[in-house]
Structure formats: structure tokens, C-alpha cells
Symmetry: D2
Subunit: 387 residues, 4 copies
């Protein structure tokens, strides 16, 4: 391996997403044959002491407290953005303009305008060989990558129905404290943008189709929550607690979507079911190593939903891991994401999902919010030129 | 048992529903201690020979070919209507005016106007002690009756979400023939009225709440189908193949509904999930003896969705049947329905679901159709005075 | 239908099994096209008043208090024995000798000697056209009859493993009272003969093979239980609470068996899994309408256990019932049993399972008891000449 | 962190187990707060070139081709043995005598005599502060560690039944090639020692009880397999393809065990079910993030097996990982194993499972083989003095 095969990574943010990304950066080159080996060059956070402790813990070689400095570092060739959505545009655009590859956590931004600007920056940077990717990690669940492959192979025929749900319950308790994810300024929206974005992206990924229009509604069940500052006072929740919408796909199918943090007992139930003219597929992240498949071309006397354990060597990403039946976990989605990004960087390819994909999701979220604010009226989603 | 304890039943129609009702009428008095014993007096059908054969097969003592004659019979005290929806109003109203109790299959009628007229007739008849009931048989699945009891007992707290689906796949094949259920004149609507009606009724039944408004869409995937007359020509499908809508409940919760005959591989997946502030419930008719329950008041380290086998003696209707773990089947829902109807007749009570309940469902279906035809705009459901 | 097409049935016993059989006799001719129509002629019990009440409730035309009188009745052509096992030999042999067809509940008898005598009587009667059947009703679960068909069709290849369990929990509580099922004199054995007999029979039925030898153990966890007579005194439990054994099949496969009434939370979990060289099948009675099938000849990337809903028209017995996805319940196994018995009687065929099948099961149970009493030493099961 | 807080690790072997252990050594200190930080000092293999490539890939700093040299290295304080079972005794005893801590993969050895000698060596070394552990990694599945905690807390009461199965299917095809795992000289036994050992250990771990006696049988379905040398000739399979045995626990319960590589369609179905007087637990590694629990102290009308997602912060090992519902994978069991080992080394504690635990398992396996060779006669397992 030559020096040219190494890629210095600088990461901004080190909480939940930062920890997951770190585990992935540490692991990817040990498990996959990537053309490029990542080097965990520097971690950036606002407070020097906390950032230094995190860097030692997570395995980053250096520390920065100013993201502009991080971008300037000569040993950083790729910037990994793990901060809340309101900071994404500024950091991503600056990094791209500085010629650094960018991996940006989802949702790409908090508005269509911002996402659009970022996508423009990504397009300009691409002309100079600079790569960008938005972090819809669930595309890298082997069972879901397998689902996409099966759809592309025609195994379920023409898609009639998509049934997508992302169900969590972590703020069911009204005394659960206020946090940045419940603040529109920081997070853009609530369940809609945080988890609804994932099922919109997955629908596009697995079906290979676009959403053409929506009719939606949102709701905030608990409008105030205790502040975490010990003051005893309450802060206003300015985002949705739950969102639901119906939609149409450009292939002629119908879809229903639901994203909520109030589905009591559902911890991370990201579910996707597709019904086609030749078969069906179903998935639930709470059983992430399984894909259900019904083959409608079989004799009806022995047909039924089969449970594919997506752990065979032939399944996406699995050749690098363990024998059949030895499942993977949540963090592997990030390791696979890094693998695909490194592969694209190493081969001058375009990593997916692109910022344009992130923008397409943002358009859908914006349409849902528009419909929800206008008597649920049908709202068309602007056609995306390139995906 | 005196002669007064016997109740002569006359049934109109003898295909799928008629066979199911016959099995229930034969069984109910042998299994349950009903105050009134049904007597299978007469079966009514249009063709004398076929009707006679059906009557012998199904166990009816006499035959009529004119439903007006059936109503006039002195040995018929209750008329059981198992014909397509377009015939319900005329038969039901005539029977009620003749002082005969009425059990009418769902949906109550093909329009709000008809359902309204029937409900008025039922109210007038009730003043004379004549009983009426609409046949939403799924209310009598023990697991669903248990769900209602648990909701009423506060086991899941304030309801935040209802997720209702009725998924079938019996006309996925575009060469599957034309039939009356696909003809708006006979059936009123397609998946919406046939199976969507069930999940609307069940939502009202289990939650004890009304639906206040909807935003919906419908679709016909296969617009023409071969006629069953051997002519080789095609008939137009004039109803929806699938319907989806979002809704709100008067208790403040959100709901999503989906009814389709194109969910490949789903045979009779009538599913209902409720998420409340204190717990959740989930049901799928394909596993009709099971109710899933998550108790959010438990310690989180041992909490989880439990699978209640709804076969314990304490569960609704189960005392009369078999030991725990020995499940029931589809037709038992009708046996239980007849048991509750006979109990109401025998005690001068009001059987449920009433025609007013049937009308309430019809209002929801009409609102969905209105919304679907008007850019999915939010459409309020008229408030029901009595339920 | 002529008088000759009618078959008078006389039943002995009217508790749990009697109620289930009555429901089946009432239903079978209404649902299936049987050549012979059963007539519920007379019910026999020891106490006249209770028996009369049961007869009215369950639909029997007459009452007897002496089983010998029942056998003598001219309107009784078939005797259905639903009493505890210690009474089976005397009644069954007398009925057969009187030229009456016999349906005898399982286990056939409480010992090999008795079962052998009954089988001899059945062979002699057969020469005179008299039919006999032992009531292993679970053979008539559609999913299990489908499993047998698939094994016979070679869908799972050479059988390597059978994994059979019958798990119940109804006497886990040590204060649950003494009853006849816990008395060796009446019941022969405990879990072994009551429920273990079913999984031995099903193994023979589904695989088409015999068990050649066993090594077993049994245990009584609660040796004394309160008498139900209000005396406050305790009675000795003289049967096993649980039994487990390993076995070999004459086709070269291995098998494990377990029968227990102490599997807390398992209500009626009769489970059977077969692993063959070309596939596998799995079943659990708690989900009785489902059969799991793994086809090992499929491409491994889409292979997996599929859940067949055994409710298709092509599935055994299902043509007569409801549309796909509309499941059956426990009592249907008896209706199907009566259908097959009537078919055999009507066509001069040999109904299955025969008394010889019942004897074969008894030989296995005896071998398990012998092994359990002799340090679990391997115990061969005598070869059955005819099955 | 001082130099003393670092612990040099030397690993022998780098195939399947070596890769899994490497991933764990790389990860453990980044995720858990261990008192001691592992340093991946040296990897040992027979061929220099292959070992060097593996070391670079897996992240080991140096390479050895002689395990005695590895033990001598001053930068190696702990030896991790990932080779086939026949090499365990020599390496482990030498390492212990040299004062190096030892982690030895399971099974501890290929015979009781060897395991006994290793346990003696471990006891002697322990007096000098040298630690040893056998690698039964499945003890570190959070759901199984939770099961043990719940049993210890009395949540299922007195254990009546253990039902343990380890089902795989990777050599169902008779043309699947010969390998060291099928050679008695190298592997000791087949399914029995390879996977049966795990369920024996887990039974001891979760119940806290010993197995007192067994009756067993084993079988080799495919006695010859093609050699992997391209010669076209076949090698003899000298181990069992499958083993089954019944057993008793010193707490009075019964147990059934089955280990096979011929359970077609079961990829890594390590299943454990426990039925106790107060409840039941069930687990299947194919759904490794789930534990099923039935609480028999609940009201029977709402009781049922609940699915605990073992991903809550309060669950064993989970505080260090992701939010609820974000599951772990196979390799995490090794990371947790390393965490517990490092904790023991750092606190002068005794890591579990000890070599004595490994010996106890070996005694059970030997008893099964003895019984299998002697007409399945009941065979007592020697009492273990210390565990």
C-alpha cells in the first residue's frame, strides 16, 4: 500500500452518530478490501477537553475545535459531518469548495433551499473530482440491499403498494426532557425529518422510483417538555411528534408512510413492505437480518412468505463477514457505507446516495409539510432531474 | 324450553355468507346458553331448485323464492340478509316494518342515503321492540373483543395511533374474472366498502371513538376484466381495487387505513395496531387467536410485546369452547354474533353493532370517496348522534 | 338420499371429547359431500339426568345409561367411544363383535395387551365389513395432512431429523386438583400416553415410517395433589408429568420427543419439525393454520422457511370451507375425521388410523416406559406387521 | 493511562475465530471503559507469508511462526488460542506456566484427560495471579446474559425443563468436502463437541446448575466426503454429524439436547428454552437480540410470551452501545468476552467461564459418547468440585 492509498478523515461531532461513524472507520479497512485505507486524522468539537477525551476514546489522532481549521488540515481529505442539521450547509459547502470529499449525515439539510445549495456545491465539486454522499445508512442493511436487487431483478413485478413505517417510542413519556431534536431551529422537523426521511429514501432506493405527490398530516402530542437545565421550566416543542402521509409513485403504485416517536413498545421498527404483481417483500429493522419474500409465481399450494436470513455469502456485503446465520448489527450499516464511499473515491465513481438524493428526500418532506398545513390537500413533489 | 323460547329464522342468500351464517345458526344453541333457541325455518333464493338444494345441504326446513313471502311467514321472526349491498335497504326496511328482527350483512348499504333510511326504519321498529343488527362479524373475534375490553379498562391509556390494514390478494391476476363485487351498482365500492368497512368499524369498536375527518385516495389497477360468460369480452371494473386514507379520532389520535385486494401474498391480513400512552395492542386476522400486547407500565428491562393466546376461559366467548391453546376459526365469529343477537332479543336489549353503527361507517366511506375525488382534501365526517 | 345412506351414531361419554365429537357429527354432513349422512341417534352416560341434559344440549335424539344397551340399539350402526382409556377395550370389542363400526378415542388402550386384543377384534370384524378407527384427530389438521403429502411427494428428501414436542402447562400449579388423567388405573400413563401418543402417531403419519427403538425418561414433579372432594386430603399422582425420549426411524433418521404438562406458558404447543436432505417442514398447533417449509433445492440467496397458510382450496379438506386466509379451529380436526370415517364406511374402505396404528403407538409408549424404568437403556420397538 | 494499564495480546490462529477475535480486540477498548487496554502485539501462524498478510489485514503489530516464541515475547502478556482443539493443551499449559494469561477457544480440549490437565495448570497458575478463560462466547449475548440474570432473580422459579438445540445445515450436501472439523484426531468430536458444547455450557450458565447424567445417541449420515486436494478421492468422516441426548439437572429438572449440522434451513439456530414453576424463557440465536419471557405470575387473561428486545440500557453490555432497538451482531459476543476478561485481569478477579467450566462441559460430552456407545444407557456425569 502506498501513501496515495490512504485517505485522511476529519469528523465533526462525536455523540451518537460520531460514535457509530468512528466504529465504522476503525473497522472498514480490516474487513473489506477497499482500494483506499481510511486514516482517522482528526476529530472536531466545540469544547477542547471533551473533544480530546472523545478522540482518545474513539481513536482519532488529533483534535480541532473549529471546523474551518479541520477543513484546512492537509492530512484531512474527507470531511465527515455528524452534527445537527442546521450546521450541515455551511460546513459541507465549505469543505467541498476546499476540495475535500464530504460525507454528510441525513437529513441533508433543514430546508429545500439549503439542500438545493448543497447539491449545487456538490455538482460543482464533482467536476473537480470531489465526491459527496449523504448518510442514509439503512441503504446498507444487507437485507434491504438484497430487496433492491430483487426488485431490480423483477422478482416482485410491477409495484402496487409500498407500506413504510418508522416507529419509535422514546418520548412517549411527557416528562421526557426537551432536546435539540424537538427544536425546529436545530432539527428542521421532528419525526418527519429525523426518521421519516429514512423511509422516504429507502422507498426510492428499493423501488428505484420517485414519489410524485403526497397528502399528509402531522401532530405534536406533547407541546411542552421540561428543560434539561434543572430550572424546572418548560420549553416549547416546535416540531411534529408524528407524521403520516399517503403518496403515489411514478411507477403507478400507491404508498402509505408513517413516522412517529409515540409508537409505544416499538423501539426502532423501521418497516417496509412492497406488494407487486409477481411477489412481495417485507422488512422490519427490529429483525434486521431477515427479509420476507413471497413469490407469487409459485404454486399456491406451497407459496407463502419466506424468511430469508440475509447472511449468505451471496448477499450484499456478507462475503466479508461471518458464516450464514451469524447476524450483523446496527453499526455494520455504517461500515458498509464507508466501504462504498471509499470504493467510489478509489475508483473515481459517484457514491450513492448523492446530495441530489438527499435533496429529493427534502422535497418530499417539504411537500408533506405543505399538505399538512393546507388541509392535507394533494401536493405534487417537484420532479428531480438527476438522481 | 317453551315454544316462546324459540325464534324462527329466515335467511336471504346462500353463497359464501349464507353458508357461514348457516353454520353459525346450527351451532350457536349447542354451544352457548342462549335464552332463545334459533330455528332454521326458511331459506330464500331466486332459483327454486338451487335454493332447495342449498336448504337441504345447509339445514333449512323450508324454501322461498320471494323475499317478501319470506318476511310474511309466521314461522319467521328474524330475517337474516346475506345478499349483495344493493338489495339491503328494500329487504331490511320491509322486514322491520313487518315487525321482524333483522340481521343485515355489512356494509349496511351502498350509500349514506340508503343507510340513513335503514337506520330510521330501525329506530322506528325499535320502539315496537323489534331488534336490528349489522353483521360486522369481526367484532366477535375473541382477541378483538379482548382488545376492546383492555382499551376500556385503560390498559393502553390515551390512544395516539391507530394503524389499520385489510390486505387481500385474490384479484392480483388481471385475468381473474369480472364479478359483482367489482360492479359499483351492486357493491357500492370495491376494497373500500367490502373490507375497508371492517377496519373502520373495528377502529370504532376497539377504541370506542369516532373518526372525525379523513384524507384519502383510491385506485383501480386493473380497469377491465374478462366476463365470466365465456364470451371472451371484457367488463369494466367500476370500483376501487385499493383505498388508503389518513384520519383523526375524536380522542385526539391519528390513524392510517389501507384496504386492498392487491397485497400479493396477504390472504386475509386484517391488521389493527393501537399505540397508547400506557401500552399498545396489535392484531392480524391471519393469526386470529393471538393478540399482541405491550404494557408500557412495566419495567423496561422486561417489557416487550407479549403474545396472548386468546383462548383462556376468561377471554370473551371462550368459556363455551375448548381448553386453552385450542384455537377457533373464521366461522366462530358468526356463531358469536348470533349468540349476542339472540341474547339481545331474549332480554329486550339493543344488539350491537346497530344500524346507526353501520351508518357511521358509511359516513366514513363516503368521506373517503369525497376526499379521493377532490385532491385528497381533508373531509370532515358528520358527527353521529347516537351510536 | 335413501334410508341406506344414513348411519346411526351412538356415542359413549359427553365431556370434553364428547362435546367436540358432537360438534363434528352435527357439522360434517352440512359441509362435506359424504356418501353417508350421520344421524345422531343416542348418547350414553352413567347418570340419566346429566346424560339427558347433555343429549338435548348437544343434539342427540335418545339417551342410554348402559353402553351395552347402546350397542344393541337397531338405530345405532356406529359406536363412538369418548370415555377414559380403561373402558375402551370392553366397549370397543363388544361393539365390533355386535357388528357395529367403531370410532375409539386415543390412546387406543392403556396397555399393549389390551390394544392388541382390540386390534385382533378389529381384524375379525373387518372380515365382516365392520370398520374401525382410532381418533388421532390431529392427522386431520390441514397443515399436517399437507405436510404428509409433501413428504410423500419427496419435497424434503431423505428424513434426517424429527423433532416432536407436545407442550402444555395446565397442571403447573401444585394445588391444581387430582383428576382421572393423573391416575394410572384410569389413564394408563400421564403426559406420555395423553399427549405423547399424538406426536408418536403424527411422526408415523407424516413420515410414513416406523419408530424402531427408543431411550427415554419420565418424571413426576408433583407427586400428590388435593382431592376434588372437599375433604382437604391429597391423592397420589401415579402417572408421569413429563416424558422425553430419543428414537430412531426405520428410514435412518434420528428423532427427539418430549411430552409435558409443565411447559409453563405453552398452552397446546404440539410441534413437529422434520429436516430432510432436500428440505424441512415445521408446525406448531398454537398456529394451526400455518406450515413452515424450507425448500433446499432453491438458490440459497432467496431460500428460507416460508409460512404456508394452509387455507388454499388445494390444501387437504379446505375446498369445503372458506376462502384463503380464513382459518379453521380445533374442532375442525374432528369434522374432518368424521368425514374420512364416513367416506370409508360409504365405500367399504379401511379408515385410517386403524386399530393397528393405535397398537403401534402403544408399542412405542410401552418401550419408552420400559427404557425409563431400566436406566434409559435402548429398547427396541417390536416390528409391526401391518399398518 | 500508564504503561501498566496496557496488556499485550498474542494470538495463535487467524481463520474464522481469529478474525472474530481480532475484531473484538480492536473494538473493546473503544466502546467499553476497561481498566486495561489491549495492545494487539503479535499474531502467530505456521506460514510466514500468510500470517504477515493476515496481521496487516487484521491489525496485529508483529508476526511469529512458532507459538513457543510467541509465548516468550516480552510484549505478550496474554495468549489467545484460536486453533483447532488438538493443539489447545500444549499451547495453553505452556503459556500458563510461562505466566501468561490465557484465553482458549472452546471446546477446551478433545478429551477429559487433556481438559483436566489444562484445568490443573490453570489452578496452579491462578495462585501466581495468572488468569485463564475458555471462549464460550455465547454467554455474552446480551439476551442470554439477561436470561441468566432473570433466572438468578427467581423470575421463572424452579426449573422443570430445559430444551436446548444447536441446529446448522452447512454439510447437508454429501459432496461438501472433507475438513478438519470432520476428523476425530483434530476436532475430538463432530457436532457434539463443536456446537453441542455451546448448549451444554449455556445450560450451566443460564440455569446455574450442573448436568448429573445423560442418555444419548450420535449418528454420522455421510461417512465419506471428497478430499479438498483435487485428487478425486474420498476421506472418512470420523466424527458424528448429529448428536441427541436427554439429561437431568441437579435442581431436579429434565433436559433435552440436540446438536446437528443436518437441520436443513437452520443456519445457526442455537435455541434454548427453559420452563419453570413461575415462568419460561426462550431464545434463538437466529434472532439474537430477542429474549422471549412468559411470566406465570401474571393474570392469565393477559399473560403470554413477550418478546424482549435485549437492547435497553439496563440490559447486560448494552449501556456501551446504541439506543434501544438498534441490535447487535455475532461479533459483539467476542467484544463482550474480551471486556469481561480485561475486567478480571484488571481487578485480579477470576474470569468466567473458567477452565474448570470447560472441563465440566467435557465431562458431559464424554458421558454422551459413552452412553451412545453403550446402548444409550444412563451415564452419570462426575460431580465437579469447583465451578
Amino acid at each position: 500500500m502506498t501513501e496515495n492509498d490512504r485517505l485522511g478523515v476529519g469528523m465533526v461531532g462525536y455523540s451518537f452518530m460520531g460514535a457509530a461513524h468512528s466504529q465504522a472507520w476503525r473497522t472498514v479497512g480490516r474487513v473489506f478490501d477497499t482500494r483506499v485505507q481510511p486514516v482517522m486524522a482528526a476529530l472536531c468539537g466545540r469544547r477542547a477537553d471533551n473533544t480530546a477525551a472523545a478522540a482518545e476514546r474513539l481513536g482519532w489522532a488529533a483534535v480541532e475545535t473549529d471546523w474551518e481549521k479541520l477543513i484546512e488540515r492537509r492530512d484531512v481529505a474527507l470531511v465527515d459531518i455528524c452534527t445537527p442539521g442546521d450546521t450541515h450547509p455551511e460546513i459541507a459547502i465549505a469543505a467541498l469548495e476546499a476540495g475535500k470529499h464530504v460525507l454528510c449525515e441525513k437529513p441533508l439539510a433543514n430546508s429545500v433551499a439549503e439542500a438545493s445549495a448543497m447539491t449545487d456545491a456538490a455538482r460543482r465539486a464533482r467536476e473537480r473530482g470531489v465526491r459527496s454522499m449523504v448518510g442514509f445508512n439503512y441503504r446498507r442493511v444487507p437485507a434491504l440491499a438484497l430487496a433492491r436487487r430483487m426488485v431490480a431483478d423483477g422478482r416482485i413485478g410491477t409495484i402496487r403498494h409500498v407500506r413504510a413505517q418508522y416507529l419509535q417510542d422514546f418520548i412517549v413519556d411527557p416528562e421526557s426532557p426537551m432536546m435539540w431534536r424537538l427544536d425546529r431551529e436545530r432539527a428542521g422537523s421532528g419525526a418527519l425529518g429525523d426518521i421519516g426521511a429514512h423511509i422516504v429514501d429507502l422507498t426510492r432506493f428499493v423501488t428505484g422510483q420517485n414519489i410524485t405527490g403526497v397528502s399528509g398530516m402531522t401532530q405534536t402530542f406533547v407541546p411542552e417538555r421540561p428543560l434539561d437545565d434543572g430550572s424546572g421550566s418548560y420549553g416549547e416543542v416546535t416540531v411534529d411528534d408524528a407524521a403520516a402521509f399517503i403518496a403515489r409513485l411514478d411507477g403507478g403504485g400507491m404508498a402509505t408512510f408513517e413516522a412517529t416517536r409515540f409508537a409505544t413498545g416499538r423501539k426502532n421498527a423501521m418497516r417496509l413492505e412492497l406488494n407487486g404483481s409477481a411477489g412481495s417483500l417485507a422488512f422490519d429493522f427490529e429483525s434486521m437480518n431477515e427479509l420476507l419474500f413471497h413469490d407469487h409465481t409459485e404454486d399456491e399450494s406451497t407459496a407463502g412468505f419466506r424468511r430469508i436470513l440475509a447472511t449468505e455469502p451471496d448477499h450484499p456485503y456478507m462475503q466479508a463477514w461471518w458464516p450464514p446465520g451469524h447476524g450483523l448489527g446496527y453499526e455494520h450499516t455504517f461500515t458498509h457505507q464507508m466501504r462504498d464511499l471509499l470504493e467510489a473515491v478509489g475508483t473515481d465513481g459517484d457514491p450513492e446516495p448523492s446530495f441530489a438524493d438527499g435533496l429529493a428526500v427534502q422535497h418530499v418532506l417539504a411537500a408533506v409539510e405543505h399538505s399538512s398545513s393546507n388541509q392535507s390537500v394533494w401536493t405534487e413533489v417537484p420532479r428531480q432531474n438527476e438522481l
